[in-house]
Amino acid sequence: MSFIPARRTGRRVARRFTGRDLAVLGVLLGIPVLLDVAIVWGPTLASVVLSFTGWDGIGDIKWVGTQNYRNLFTNYPQFWPAARHNLLWLAFLGLVAAPFGLLLAVLIDRGVRFSRFYQSTLYMPVVLSLAVVGFIAQLVFSRDQGALNAVIGDTGSPTDWLGDPDLNIWMVLLAAAWRHTGYVMILYLAGLKAVDPSLKEAAAIDGAGEAQTFFRIVLPTLRPVNVIVGVITVIESLRAFDIVYAVNHGRNGLELLSVLVTDNIIGEASRIGFGSAIAVVLLAVSLGFVATYLVQELRGERNR
Protein backbone atom coordinates (compact mmCIF):
# COMPACT_ATOMS: atom_id res chain seq x y z
CA MET A 1 0.00 0.00 0.00
CA SER A 2 1.51 3.31 -0.96
CA PHE A 3 1.05 6.57 0.83
CA ILE A 4 0.99 9.92 -0.80
CA PRO A 5 4.14 11.70 0.26
CA ALA A 6 3.74 14.99 2.04
CA ARG A 7 3.95 17.89 -0.33
CA ARG A 8 7.57 18.49 -1.10
CA THR A 9 7.33 21.50 -3.34
CA GLY A 10 7.65 25.07 -2.15
CA ARG A 11 9.13 26.25 1.11
CA ARG A 12 9.05 23.72 3.80
CA VAL A 13 6.88 25.01 6.57
CA ALA A 14 7.91 23.88 10.01
CA ARG A 15 5.61 20.90 10.46
CA ARG A 16 6.63 19.53 13.79
CA PHE A 17 3.63 19.17 16.05
CA THR A 18 3.82 20.14 19.71
CA GLY A 19 2.76 17.71 22.40
CA ARG A 20 -0.61 19.40 22.70
CA ASP A 21 -1.12 19.14 18.92
CA LEU A 22 -0.37 15.44 19.02
CA ALA A 23 -2.83 14.94 21.87
CA VAL A 24 -5.58 16.79 19.96
CA LEU A 25 -4.82 14.81 16.81
CA GLY A 26 -4.67 11.54 18.70
CA VAL A 27 -8.04 12.00 20.40
CA LEU A 28 -9.99 13.63 17.58
CA LEU A 29 -8.69 11.30 14.90
CA GLY A 30 -8.72 8.32 17.23
CA ILE A 31 -12.40 8.54 18.20
CA PRO A 32 -13.82 8.64 14.65
CA VAL A 33 -11.44 5.95 13.42
CA LEU A 34 -12.37 3.74 16.37
CA LEU A 35 -16.07 4.38 15.73
CA ASP A 36 -15.69 3.58 12.05
CA VAL A 37 -13.86 0.35 12.83
CA ALA A 38 -16.24 -0.63 15.65
CA ILE A 39 -19.46 0.19 13.81
CA VAL A 40 -18.61 -0.52 10.18
CA TRP A 41 -15.47 -2.49 9.44
CA GLY A 42 -15.30 -4.72 12.49
CA PRO A 43 -18.88 -5.96 12.05
CA THR A 44 -18.27 -6.42 8.32
CA LEU A 45 -15.35 -8.73 9.06
CA ALA A 46 -17.35 -10.43 11.79
CA SER A 47 -20.17 -11.07 9.31
CA VAL A 48 -17.73 -12.83 7.02
CA VAL A 49 -16.45 -14.99 9.88
CA LEU A 50 -19.95 -15.74 11.22
CA SER A 51 -21.10 -16.82 7.77
CA PHE A 52 -18.96 -19.95 8.17
CA THR A 53 -20.63 -20.93 11.42
CA GLY A 54 -23.93 -22.37 12.43
CA TRP A 55 -24.87 -20.07 15.28
CA ASP A 56 -28.22 -19.23 16.81
CA GLY A 57 -26.89 -16.25 18.77
CA ILE A 58 -27.03 -17.97 22.15
CA GLY A 59 -25.26 -21.33 22.20
CA ASP A 60 -21.76 -22.27 21.12
CA ILE A 61 -20.33 -21.08 17.85
CA LYS A 62 -19.90 -24.12 15.65
CA TRP A 63 -17.82 -24.11 12.47
CA VAL A 64 -19.70 -25.50 9.51
CA GLY A 65 -17.39 -24.39 6.70
CA THR A 66 -19.20 -23.47 3.52
CA GLN A 67 -22.38 -25.29 4.44
CA ASN A 68 -24.40 -22.07 4.84
CA TYR A 69 -23.48 -21.03 1.34
CA ARG A 70 -24.31 -24.43 -0.10
CA ASN A 71 -27.69 -24.37 1.65
CA LEU A 72 -28.25 -20.85 0.49
CA PHE A 73 -27.65 -21.59 -3.17
CA THR A 74 -29.33 -25.00 -3.39
CA ASN A 75 -31.73 -25.38 -0.53
CA TYR A 76 -33.31 -22.01 0.29
CA PRO A 77 -36.21 -21.35 -2.03
CA GLN A 78 -36.36 -17.60 -1.30
CA PHE A 79 -32.75 -16.93 -2.27
CA TRP A 80 -32.88 -16.92 -6.05
CA PRO A 81 -36.11 -14.93 -6.33
CA ALA A 82 -34.63 -12.39 -3.92
CA ALA A 83 -31.39 -12.16 -5.92
CA ARG A 84 -33.42 -11.76 -9.12
CA HIS A 85 -35.47 -8.98 -7.55
CA ASN A 86 -32.31 -7.14 -6.49
CA LEU A 87 -30.97 -7.42 -10.04
CA LEU A 88 -34.26 -6.24 -11.47
CA TRP A 89 -34.14 -3.31 -9.03
CA LEU A 90 -30.67 -2.42 -10.30
CA ALA A 91 -31.70 -2.73 -13.94
CA PHE A 92 -34.83 -0.65 -13.47
CA LEU A 93 -33.19 2.16 -11.53
CA GLY A 94 -30.12 2.12 -13.79
CA LEU A 95 -31.82 1.83 -17.17
CA VAL A 96 -35.12 3.64 -16.54
CA ALA A 97 -34.98 5.96 -13.52
CA ALA A 98 -31.42 7.29 -13.97
CA PRO A 99 -31.71 8.11 -17.70
CA PHE A 100 -35.09 9.70 -16.99
CA GLY A 101 -33.48 11.84 -14.31
CA LEU A 102 -30.80 12.85 -16.81
CA LEU A 103 -33.44 13.77 -19.39
CA LEU A 104 -35.29 15.95 -16.87
CA ALA A 105 -32.06 17.63 -15.81
CA VAL A 106 -31.13 18.41 -19.42
CA LEU A 107 -34.57 19.87 -20.14
CA ILE A 108 -34.56 22.01 -17.01
CA ASP A 109 -30.97 23.10 -17.56
CA ARG A 110 -31.92 24.67 -20.89
CA GLY A 111 -33.45 27.47 -18.88
CA VAL A 112 -37.16 26.99 -19.41
CA ARG A 113 -39.56 29.21 -17.50
CA PHE A 114 -40.92 27.93 -14.18
CA SER A 115 -37.79 25.80 -13.89
CA ARG A 116 -37.70 26.47 -10.12
CA PHE A 117 -41.18 25.00 -9.78
CA TYR A 118 -40.29 21.94 -11.84
CA GLN A 119 -37.10 21.41 -9.90
CA SER A 120 -38.71 21.62 -6.48
CA THR A 121 -41.57 19.35 -7.43
CA LEU A 122 -39.35 16.71 -8.91
CA TYR A 123 -36.95 16.72 -5.95
CA MET A 124 -39.70 16.52 -3.41
CA PRO A 125 -40.04 12.74 -3.17
CA VAL A 126 -36.33 12.54 -2.29
CA VAL A 127 -36.94 13.94 1.19
CA LEU A 128 -39.70 11.47 1.99
CA SER A 129 -38.73 8.41 3.94
CA LEU A 130 -39.06 5.17 2.02
CA ALA A 131 -41.43 3.98 4.69
CA VAL A 132 -43.81 6.81 3.79
CA VAL A 133 -43.29 6.12 0.10
CA GLY A 134 -44.22 2.50 0.72
CA PHE A 135 -47.41 3.53 2.43
CA ILE A 136 -48.36 6.03 -0.26
CA ALA A 137 -47.83 3.25 -2.80
CA GLN A 138 -50.54 1.33 -0.98
CA LEU A 139 -53.00 4.20 -1.32
CA VAL A 140 -52.38 4.34 -5.05
CA PHE A 141 -52.20 0.65 -5.84
CA SER A 142 -54.62 -0.96 -3.40
CA ARG A 143 -57.09 -3.27 -5.06
CA ASP A 144 -60.51 -2.12 -3.95
CA GLN A 145 -60.18 1.58 -3.28
CA GLY A 146 -56.84 2.43 -4.85
CA ALA A 147 -56.58 5.49 -7.03
CA LEU A 148 -54.98 3.65 -9.94
CA ASN A 149 -57.86 1.23 -10.41
CA ALA A 150 -60.29 4.14 -10.13
CA VAL A 151 -58.43 6.12 -12.79
CA ILE A 152 -58.27 3.27 -15.29
CA GLY A 153 -61.88 2.39 -14.49
CA ASP A 154 -61.03 -1.17 -13.54
CA THR A 155 -63.99 -1.96 -11.31
CA GLY A 156 -65.38 -5.23 -12.61
CA SER A 157 -62.42 -7.43 -11.71
CA PRO A 158 -59.95 -5.00 -10.14
CA THR A 159 -56.26 -5.76 -10.43
CA ASP A 160 -54.54 -6.40 -7.11
CA TRP A 161 -51.40 -4.41 -7.93
CA LEU A 162 -49.59 -5.06 -4.67
CA GLY A 163 -51.06 -8.46 -3.86
CA ASP A 164 -50.32 -10.23 -7.12
CA PRO A 165 -46.81 -11.72 -6.79
CA ASP A 166 -46.17 -11.30 -10.52
CA LEU A 167 -47.09 -7.63 -10.54
CA ASN A 168 -46.19 -6.14 -7.20
CA ILE A 169 -42.43 -5.91 -7.74
CA TRP A 170 -43.06 -3.61 -10.71
CA MET A 171 -45.33 -1.34 -8.71
CA VAL A 172 -42.78 -1.13 -5.90
CA LEU A 173 -40.10 -0.36 -8.50
CA LEU A 174 -42.22 2.51 -9.77
CA ALA A 175 -42.40 3.86 -6.23
CA ALA A 176 -38.62 3.47 -5.78
CA ALA A 177 -38.00 5.15 -9.14
CA TRP A 178 -40.21 8.04 -8.06
CA ARG A 179 -37.56 8.91 -5.50
CA HIS A 180 -34.48 7.86 -7.44
CA THR A 181 -35.31 10.00 -10.48
CA GLY A 182 -35.34 13.18 -8.43
CA TYR A 183 -32.08 12.30 -6.73
CA VAL A 184 -30.33 11.59 -10.04
CA MET A 185 -31.75 14.79 -11.51
CA ILE A 186 -30.24 16.93 -8.73
CA LEU A 187 -26.82 15.43 -9.32
CA TYR A 188 -26.97 15.94 -13.08
CA LEU A 189 -28.28 19.49 -12.75
CA ALA A 190 -25.24 20.34 -10.62
CA GLY A 191 -22.97 18.63 -13.13
CA LEU A 192 -24.54 20.40 -16.10
CA LYS A 193 -24.02 23.80 -14.47
CA ALA A 194 -20.31 23.05 -14.37
CA VAL A 195 -20.07 22.23 -18.09
CA ASP A 196 -18.10 24.97 -19.83
CA PRO A 197 -20.56 26.76 -22.19
CA SER A 198 -17.76 27.63 -24.62
CA LEU A 199 -17.40 23.92 -25.38
CA LYS A 200 -21.01 23.82 -26.53
CA GLU A 201 -20.59 27.00 -28.55
CA ALA A 202 -17.53 25.62 -30.26
CA ALA A 203 -19.44 22.46 -31.15
CA ALA A 204 -22.32 24.53 -32.53
CA ILE A 205 -19.93 26.55 -34.69
CA ASP A 206 -18.50 23.32 -36.02
CA GLY A 207 -22.01 22.42 -37.10
CA ALA A 208 -22.87 19.79 -34.51
CA GLY A 209 -26.59 19.18 -33.91
CA GLU A 210 -28.10 19.31 -30.46
CA ALA A 211 -28.09 15.56 -29.98
CA GLN A 212 -24.55 15.29 -31.29
CA THR A 213 -23.34 18.03 -28.95
CA PHE A 214 -24.98 16.29 -26.03
CA PHE A 215 -23.60 12.82 -26.65
CA ARG A 216 -20.14 13.85 -27.88
CA ILE A 217 -19.41 16.90 -25.72
CA VAL A 218 -21.67 17.19 -22.70
CA LEU A 219 -22.02 13.57 -21.63
CA PRO A 220 -18.25 12.87 -21.60
CA THR A 221 -17.59 15.93 -19.43
CA LEU A 222 -20.25 14.65 -17.01
CA ARG A 223 -18.16 11.56 -16.36
CA PRO A 224 -17.60 12.19 -12.62
CA VAL A 225 -21.36 12.59 -12.15
CA ASN A 226 -22.04 9.46 -14.19
CA VAL A 227 -19.72 7.53 -11.90
CA ILE A 228 -21.48 8.85 -8.77
CA VAL A 229 -24.91 8.10 -10.20
CA GLY A 230 -23.76 4.60 -11.10
CA VAL A 231 -22.44 3.95 -7.60
CA ILE A 232 -25.56 5.35 -5.93
CA THR A 233 -27.77 3.25 -8.17
CA VAL A 234 -25.91 0.04 -7.34
CA ILE A 235 -25.82 0.81 -3.63
CA GLU A 236 -29.52 1.73 -3.52
CA SER A 237 -30.47 -1.44 -5.37
CA LEU A 238 -28.53 -3.64 -2.97
CA ARG A 239 -29.75 -1.77 0.10
CA ALA A 240 -33.39 -1.69 -0.99
CA PHE A 241 -35.47 -2.62 2.02
CA ASP A 242 -37.78 0.02 3.43
CA ILE A 243 -40.42 0.09 0.70
CA VAL A 244 -41.01 -3.63 0.51
CA TYR A 245 -40.90 -3.90 4.28
CA ALA A 246 -43.52 -1.18 4.58
CA VAL A 247 -45.73 -2.79 1.93
CA ASN A 248 -45.83 -6.41 3.07
CA HIS A 249 -42.65 -7.18 5.03
CA GLY A 250 -40.98 -8.34 1.84
CA ARG A 251 -43.08 -11.43 1.25
CA ASN A 252 -45.27 -12.81 -1.51
CA GLY A 253 -43.34 -11.61 -4.55
CA LEU A 254 -41.37 -8.83 -2.88
CA GLU A 255 -38.45 -10.87 -1.51
CA LEU A 256 -35.12 -9.04 -1.39
CA LEU A 257 -31.75 -10.16 -0.05
CA SER A 258 -31.85 -7.45 2.63
CA VAL A 259 -35.20 -8.74 3.84
CA LEU A 260 -33.85 -12.30 4.05
CA VAL A 261 -30.95 -11.11 6.20
CA THR A 262 -33.28 -9.25 8.54
CA ASP A 263 -35.71 -12.17 8.73
CA ASN A 264 -32.94 -14.58 9.67
CA ILE A 265 -31.44 -12.56 12.47
CA ILE A 266 -34.33 -10.96 14.28
CA GLY A 267 -37.32 -12.80 15.57
CA GLU A 268 -37.73 -16.19 17.18
CA ALA A 269 -35.50 -18.48 15.18
CA SER A 270 -32.37 -16.43 14.81
CA ARG A 271 -30.03 -18.09 12.37
CA ILE A 272 -27.11 -15.74 12.65
CA GLY A 273 -24.65 -17.82 10.64
CA PHE A 274 -27.07 -18.27 7.79
CA GLY A 275 -28.20 -14.65 7.82
CA SER A 276 -24.57 -13.59 7.71
CA ALA A 277 -23.96 -15.73 4.63
CA ILE A 278 -26.71 -13.82 2.79
CA ALA A 279 -25.19 -10.55 3.99
CA VAL A 280 -21.78 -11.61 2.70
CA VAL A 281 -23.26 -12.28 -0.75
CA LEU A 282 -24.56 -8.69 -0.69
CA LEU A 283 -21.17 -7.48 0.51
CA ALA A 284 -19.25 -9.29 -2.22
CA VAL A 285 -21.38 -7.76 -4.96
CA SER A 286 -21.22 -4.24 -3.56
CA LEU A 287 -17.50 -4.39 -2.79
CA GLY A 288 -16.82 -5.06 -6.46
CA PHE A 289 -18.50 -1.79 -7.38
CA VAL A 290 -17.14 0.16 -4.41
CA ALA A 291 -13.57 -0.89 -5.27
CA THR A 292 -14.00 0.22 -8.89
CA TYR A 293 -15.33 3.54 -7.69
CA LEU A 294 -12.52 4.07 -5.20
CA VAL A 295 -9.89 3.36 -7.85
CA GLN A 296 -11.47 6.11 -9.94
CA GLU A 297 -11.49 8.50 -7.00
CA LEU A 298 -7.90 7.62 -6.20
CA ARG A 299 -6.80 8.51 -9.72
CA GLY A 300 -8.58 11.85 -9.47
CA GLU A 301 -6.86 12.43 -6.13
CA ARG A 302 -3.42 11.81 -7.63
CA ASN A 303 -4.08 14.30 -10.41
CA ARG A 304 -5.10 17.07 -8.10
Binding site: P43, I108, L122, Y123, A131, V132, I136, L139, V261, S276
Partner: protein
Protein backbone atom coordinates in the same frame (compact mmCIF):
# COMPACT_ATOMS: atom_id res chain seq x y z
CA UNK B 1 -42.59 30.56 -28.12
CA UNK B 2 -41.47 27.86 -30.50
CA UNK B 3 -43.53 24.68 -30.66
CA UNK B 4 -40.55 22.77 -29.25
CA UNK B 5 -40.66 24.91 -26.14
CA UNK B 6 -44.35 24.23 -25.64
CA UNK B 7 -43.67 20.53 -25.95
CA UNK B 8 -40.96 20.74 -23.28
CA UNK B 9 -43.31 22.64 -20.96
CA UNK B 10 -46.14 20.21 -21.50
CA UNK B 11 -43.80 17.32 -20.77
CA UNK B 12 -42.28 18.86 -17.63
CA UNK B 13 -45.69 19.92 -16.37
CA UNK B 14 -47.10 16.43 -16.89
CA UNK B 15 -44.17 14.80 -15.10
CA UNK B 16 -44.34 17.31 -12.24
CA UNK B 17 -48.04 16.66 -11.74
CA UNK B 18 -47.46 12.91 -11.85
CA UNK B 19 -44.77 13.33 -9.18
CA UNK B 20 -47.00 15.45 -6.97
CA UNK B 21 -50.14 13.36 -7.39
CA UNK B 22 -49.34 10.58 -4.88
CA UNK B 23 -48.53 13.15 -2.19
CA UNK B 24 -51.70 15.10 -2.84
CA UNK B 25 -53.66 11.85 -2.78
CA UNK B 26 -52.29 11.06 0.68
CA UNK B 27 -53.26 14.50 1.96
CA UNK B 28 -56.69 14.19 0.39
CA UNK B 29 -57.27 10.73 1.84
CA UNK B 30 -56.28 11.91 5.31
CA UNK B 31 -59.01 14.54 5.27
CA UNK B 32 -61.88 12.16 4.56
CA UNK B 33 -63.63 9.60 6.73
CA UNK B 34 -62.69 6.03 5.98
CA UNK B 35 -66.30 4.88 5.44
CA UNK B 36 -66.58 7.30 2.58
CA UNK B 37 -63.43 6.22 0.77
CA UNK B 38 -64.10 2.54 1.35
CA UNK B 39 -67.45 2.98 -0.33
CA UNK B 40 -66.47 5.29 -3.17
CA UNK B 41 -62.70 4.80 -3.47
CA UNK B 42 -59.88 7.25 -2.90
CA UNK B 43 -60.52 8.83 -6.24
CA UNK B 44 -63.95 10.27 -5.62
CA UNK B 45 -65.48 13.61 -4.73
CA UNK B 46 -65.54 14.43 -1.01
CA UNK B 47 -68.69 14.65 1.07
CA UNK B 48 -67.04 15.39 4.41
CA UNK B 49 -63.66 16.96 4.97
CA UNK B 50 -62.14 17.29 8.42
CA UNK B 51 -58.92 17.25 10.37
CA UNK B 52 -60.24 14.56 12.71
CA UNK B 53 -57.64 12.00 11.67
CA UNK B 54 -54.81 14.35 12.52
CA UNK B 55 -56.21 14.91 15.99
CA UNK B 56 -56.68 11.19 16.37
CA UNK B 57 -53.15 10.40 15.18
CA UNK B 58 -51.74 12.76 17.77
CA UNK B 59 -53.99 11.85 20.69
CA UNK B 60 -54.42 8.08 20.30
CA UNK B 61 -51.07 6.99 19.01
CA UNK B 62 -48.80 9.42 20.79
CA UNK B 63 -47.05 10.86 17.78
CA UNK B 64 -45.55 13.57 20.02
CA UNK B 65 -43.65 10.94 21.96
CA UNK B 66 -42.21 9.47 18.75
CA UNK B 67 -41.16 12.91 17.54
CA UNK B 68 -39.29 13.42 20.81
CA UNK B 69 -37.59 10.03 20.30
CA UNK B 70 -36.48 11.08 16.83
CA UNK B 71 -34.98 14.27 18.21
CA UNK B 72 -33.16 12.35 20.95
CA UNK B 73 -31.48 10.36 18.19
CA UNK B 74 -31.09 12.86 15.34
CA UNK B 75 -29.90 16.00 17.15
CA UNK B 76 -26.85 14.48 18.90
CA UNK B 77 -26.38 12.28 15.83
CA UNK B 78 -26.04 15.19 13.43
CA UNK B 79 -23.93 17.35 15.77
CA UNK B 80 -21.43 14.67 16.74
CA UNK B 81 -21.14 13.38 13.17
CA UNK B 82 -20.41 16.86 11.83
CA UNK B 83 -17.89 17.60 14.58
CA UNK B 84 -15.93 14.36 14.25
CA UNK B 85 -16.11 14.27 10.45
CA UNK B 86 -14.98 17.88 10.12
CA UNK B 87 -11.91 17.20 12.22
CA UNK B 88 -10.99 14.09 10.24
CA UNK B 89 -11.52 16.00 7.00
CA UNK B 90 -9.41 18.85 8.35
CA UNK B 91 -6.58 16.47 9.24
CA UNK B 92 -6.78 14.77 5.84
CA UNK B 93 -7.23 17.78 3.61
CA UNK B 94 -5.38 20.53 5.44
CA UNK B 95 -2.55 18.91 7.36
CA UNK B 96 -1.62 16.68 4.42
CA UNK B 97 -0.70 13.85 6.71
CA UNK B 98 0.88 10.64 5.56
CA UNK B 99 -1.62 7.86 5.11
CA UNK B 100 -4.41 10.39 4.76
CA UNK B 101 -5.66 8.84 1.56
CA UNK B 102 -5.96 5.43 3.17
CA UNK B 103 -8.04 6.95 5.96
CA UNK B 104 -10.24 8.74 3.44
CA UNK B 105 -10.84 5.47 1.60
CA UNK B 106 -11.58 3.68 4.86
CA UNK B 107 -14.31 6.16 5.71
CA UNK B 108 -15.74 6.57 2.22
CA UNK B 109 -15.93 2.87 1.45
CA UNK B 110 -17.47 2.21 4.85
CA UNK B 111 -20.40 4.43 4.01
CA UNK B 112 -21.07 2.51 0.81
CA UNK B 113 -21.44 -0.95 2.35
CA UNK B 114 -24.96 -2.34 2.55
CA UNK B 115 -26.40 -1.82 6.04
CA UNK B 116 -27.43 -5.45 6.32
CA UNK B 117 -23.79 -6.54 6.34
CA UNK B 118 -23.17 -4.88 9.69
CA UNK B 119 -26.55 -5.50 11.26
CA UNK B 120 -25.98 -9.04 12.54
CA UNK B 121 -22.73 -8.59 14.51
CA UNK B 122 -23.90 -5.26 15.90
CA UNK B 123 -27.13 -6.88 17.05
CA UNK B 124 -25.17 -9.57 18.85
CA UNK B 125 -22.63 -7.18 20.35
CA UNK B 126 -25.18 -4.57 21.47
CA UNK B 127 -27.05 -7.32 23.29
CA UNK B 128 -23.90 -8.02 25.30
CA UNK B 129 -22.78 -4.51 26.17
CA UNK B 130 -24.14 -3.70 29.63
CA UNK B 131 -25.15 -0.13 30.36
CA UNK B 132 -26.07 1.29 33.78
CA UNK B 133 -29.75 1.84 34.41
CA UNK B 134 -29.54 5.62 34.14
CA UNK B 135 -28.32 5.25 30.58
CA UNK B 136 -30.63 2.50 29.41
CA UNK B 137 -33.58 0.92 31.14
CA UNK B 138 -32.92 -2.30 29.26
CA UNK B 139 -29.51 -2.41 30.99
CA UNK B 140 -27.88 -3.24 27.65
CA UNK B 141 -26.91 -1.18 24.66
CA UNK B 142 -29.56 -3.08 22.71
CA UNK B 143 -32.96 -1.45 22.98
CA UNK B 144 -31.49 1.94 23.89
CA UNK B 145 -31.05 5.21 22.04
CA UNK B 146 -27.29 4.84 22.48
CA UNK B 147 -27.22 1.98 20.01
CA UNK B 148 -29.08 3.86 17.29
CA UNK B 149 -27.14 7.10 17.82
CA UNK B 150 -23.81 5.25 17.72
CA UNK B 151 -24.71 3.45 14.50
CA UNK B 152 -25.99 6.63 12.86
CA UNK B 153 -22.76 8.44 13.70
CA UNK B 154 -20.49 5.57 12.72
CA UNK B 155 -22.24 4.98 9.44
CA UNK B 156 -22.67 8.60 8.36
CA UNK B 157 -19.13 9.66 9.28
CA UNK B 158 -17.88 8.29 5.96
CA UNK B 159 -20.12 10.45 3.80
CA UNK B 160 -19.43 13.60 5.81
CA UNK B 161 -15.66 13.07 5.81
CA UNK B 162 -15.73 12.59 2.05
CA UNK B 163 -17.78 15.72 1.38
CA UNK B 164 -15.96 17.94 3.88
CA UNK B 165 -12.51 16.85 2.73
CA UNK B 166 -13.48 17.71 -0.85
CA UNK B 167 -14.73 21.08 0.31
CA UNK B 168 -11.71 21.90 2.46
CA UNK B 169 -9.37 21.21 -0.46
CA UNK B 170 -10.90 24.18 -2.24
CA UNK B 171 -9.96 26.55 0.62
CA UNK B 172 -6.74 28.51 0.11
CA UNK B 173 -3.88 26.86 1.94
CA UNK B 174 -2.15 30.23 2.49
CA UNK B 175 -4.54 31.21 5.29
CA UNK B 176 -3.48 28.15 7.23
CA UNK B 177 0.20 28.68 6.54
CA UNK B 178 -0.01 32.24 7.82
CA UNK B 179 -1.63 30.96 11.01
CA UNK B 180 1.08 28.33 11.44
CA UNK B 181 3.76 31.00 11.13
CA UNK B 182 1.92 32.92 13.85
CA UNK B 183 2.23 29.83 16.03
CA UNK B 184 -1.33 28.48 15.90
CA UNK B 185 -1.65 24.92 17.16
CA UNK B 186 -3.66 22.17 15.46
CA UNK B 187 -6.81 22.94 17.45
CA UNK B 188 -6.70 26.66 16.61
CA UNK B 189 -6.07 25.88 12.94
CA UNK B 190 -9.12 23.65 12.97
CA UNK B 191 -11.59 25.46 15.22
CA UNK B 192 -10.73 29.12 14.65
CA UNK B 193 -9.49 29.12 11.07
CA UNK B 194 -10.81 26.23 9.01
CA UNK B 195 -14.23 25.56 10.52
CA UNK B 196 -15.63 29.10 10.09
CA UNK B 197 -14.79 28.88 6.39
CA UNK B 198 -16.73 25.62 6.14
CA UNK B 199 -20.01 27.10 7.34
CA UNK B 200 -21.82 26.66 3.99
CA UNK B 201 -20.72 23.05 3.67
CA UNK B 202 -21.65 22.32 7.29
CA UNK B 203 -25.09 23.86 6.84
CA UNK B 204 -25.66 21.81 3.71
CA UNK B 205 -24.50 18.58 5.31
CA UNK B 206 -26.40 19.27 8.50
CA UNK B 207 -29.65 19.66 6.57
CA UNK B 208 -29.04 16.51 4.59
CA UNK B 209 -27.95 14.42 7.56
CA UNK B 210 -30.94 15.51 9.58
CA UNK B 211 -33.23 14.38 6.76
CA UNK B 212 -31.47 11.03 6.52
CA UNK B 213 -31.43 10.32 10.22
CA UNK B 214 -35.04 11.42 10.52
CA UNK B 215 -36.02 9.10 7.68
CA UNK B 216 -34.05 6.11 8.89
CA UNK B 217 -36.12 3.02 9.31
CA UNK B 218 -33.83 0.02 9.58
CA UNK B 219 -31.56 0.86 12.53
CA UNK B 220 -34.40 1.57 14.92
CA UNK B 221 -36.29 -1.45 13.68
CA UNK B 222 -33.36 -3.77 14.42
CA UNK B 223 -31.85 -2.21 17.54
CA UNK B 224 -34.95 -1.12 19.44
CA UNK B 225 -37.57 -3.58 20.61
CA UNK B 226 -39.60 -1.40 22.96
CA UNK B 227 -42.29 0.27 20.87
CA UNK B 228 -42.29 3.35 23.10
CA UNK B 229 -38.71 4.18 22.17
CA UNK B 230 -39.18 4.07 18.41
CA UNK B 231 -38.42 7.15 16.34
CA UNK B 232 -41.26 8.54 14.27
CA UNK B 233 -40.47 6.88 10.94
CA UNK B 234 -40.30 3.39 12.40
CA UNK B 235 -43.28 4.09 14.63
CA UNK B 236 -45.41 4.56 11.54
CA UNK B 237 -44.97 0.86 10.99
CA UNK B 238 -46.42 0.16 14.43
CA UNK B 239 -49.31 2.45 13.73
CA UNK B 240 -50.11 0.21 10.79
CA UNK B 241 -50.44 -2.76 13.08
CA UNK B 242 -52.69 -0.90 15.50
CA UNK B 243 -55.02 0.70 12.99
CA UNK B 244 -54.73 -1.85 10.27
CA UNK B 245 -58.12 -1.27 8.77
CA UNK B 246 -58.16 2.50 8.74
CA UNK B 247 -55.99 3.59 5.86
CA UNK B 248 -57.07 7.20 6.13
CA UNK B 249 -55.75 7.43 9.65
CA UNK B 250 -52.51 5.98 8.33
CA UNK B 251 -52.53 8.55 5.56
CA UNK B 252 -52.77 11.26 8.21
CA UNK B 253 -49.90 9.59 10.09
CA UNK B 254 -47.80 9.50 6.91
CA UNK B 255 -48.45 13.15 6.19
CA UNK B 256 -47.44 14.03 9.76
CA UNK B 257 -44.25 11.98 9.39
CA UNK B 258 -43.44 13.50 6.00
CA UNK B 259 -44.21 17.08 7.00
CA UNK B 260 -41.00 17.99 8.90
CA UNK B 261 -38.68 16.86 6.10
CA UNK B 262 -40.84 18.59 3.50
CA UNK B 263 -40.75 21.82 5.52
CA UNK B 264 -36.99 21.52 6.02
CA UNK B 265 -36.63 20.92 2.32
CA UNK B 266 -38.76 23.87 1.25
CA UNK B 267 -37.12 26.26 3.72
CA UNK B 268 -33.56 25.09 3.23
CA UNK B 269 -33.83 23.93 -0.36
CA UNK B 270 -30.49 25.42 -1.33
CA UNK B 271 -28.68 23.79 1.57
CA UNK B 272 -30.32 20.46 0.96
CA UNK B 273 -29.35 20.36 -2.68
CA UNK B 274 -25.87 21.68 -1.97
CA UNK B 275 -25.36 18.83 0.47
CA UNK B 276 -26.29 16.24 -2.11
CA UNK B 277 -24.10 17.73 -4.80
CA UNK B 278 -21.08 18.89 -2.78
CA UNK B 279 -19.58 15.45 -2.84
CA UNK B 280 -20.33 14.65 -6.44
CA UNK B 281 -19.11 17.46 -8.65
CA UNK B 282 -15.47 17.95 -8.05
CA UNK B 283 -14.77 21.63 -8.19
Amino acid sequence: MRPGRIGVHAFLMAVSLAFLAPLLLAVYASLRPYDETSEHGYFSLPRHLSLDYYRQAFSDSGMTKYFVNTMIIAVPGVLVTLFLASFVAFALARLKMRGGLVLLMLFTAGNLLPQQVIVTPLYVVFNRIPLPYWMSDSMTMYDSYWAVVAVQIGFQLGFCVFVLANFMRTLPQEILEAAIVDGAGVWTQYWRITLPLCRPALAALGTLQFTWMYNDFLWALVFISDGDKLPITSALNNLRGQFFTDYNLLAAGSVIVALPTLVVFLLLQRHFIAGLTLGSSKG
